[in-house]
Symmetry: C2
Subunit: 123 residues, 2 copies
DNA sequence: TGGACATATTCCCATATGGGTATATGATGA
DNA sequence: TCATCATATACCCATATGGGAATATGTCCA
């Protein structure tokens, strides 16, 4: 098996920076492809391909209007990412799980209590 | 250019389900590789490779203890993902930006006011 | 009807993935 | 020093990526 398809899920779809940019732009509202082409300064076929991926994961929806295709954001699939990442929120908010830091603090505390300097030290 | 390297950033590293599992497990605390091998039911070399990727993006840190390597979580790089995704929170919390829905509501409202049924309809 | 415009699809290519299997490196204990 | 455990690395392979260029599809207007 190679890497999972970009269309496998929102995680993979969103791993591509260009696609994140597209979503950022669409957050401002519905837009035709050419708008995105101009704003991203990217070849039109590439934009279309990225949009296809985003569409397949349900991150964008299309609406036809004349010869234009208006793409609009649908953030729902991002919720799964949000939910997963949020699980780890503590791990960067507090230095909580930084075991090394915690241990260092404990040791420091212990030292100031015991007031002896024994122990092997390596960073 | 092919797809961005898995080690390009947290987004790419975390796109792989196995690596997410590893992080989930490490959220419970420091663990040696073999623990993960057992828990994930995955070949040891594969686990090592995934850990390498996670290490290169800074999502895990290692500590040597005898012949074991204890891996521990470092969630900080996940914050960037969280921050980006959070931008879109509204888009799934409220049906706010569902333009079609909004338009439908407006039309319904207009109809009940004007009380005439003109307009082309296509879903 | 033909041409310009808007978008999608197809083909080609270099690249690196994730899995598998085998082997290297390194520490421990007899 | 040698065998064993713990982990990492090297190699091989199928796969599909993202970009580029060319072309197909479809709509509108003269």
């Amino acid at each position: 098996m190679a890497r999972a398809a970009t269309t496998a899920d929102a995680f993979n779809a969103v791993a591509e920076p260009r696609r994140r940019q597209i979503l950022d732009l669409l957050a401002g509202g519905e837009r035709p492809v050419n708008d995105l082409v101009a704003l991203l300064d990217l070849a039109q076929p590439l934009v279309s391909k990225h949009l296809r991926v985003l569409r397949e994961v349900g991150l964008v929806e299309v609406r036809e209007e004349g010869r234009q295709r208006l793409y609009r954001l649908n953030g729902r699939p991002l919720k799964s990412i949000h939910d997963w990442v949020k699980t780890f929120e503590r791990s960067w908010t507090e230095r909580f799980n930084r075991l090394d830091v915690v241990l260092a603090e404990l040791r420091a505390e212990e030292l100031s209590t015991t007031e002896n300097g024994a122990g092997s030290d390596d960073e």
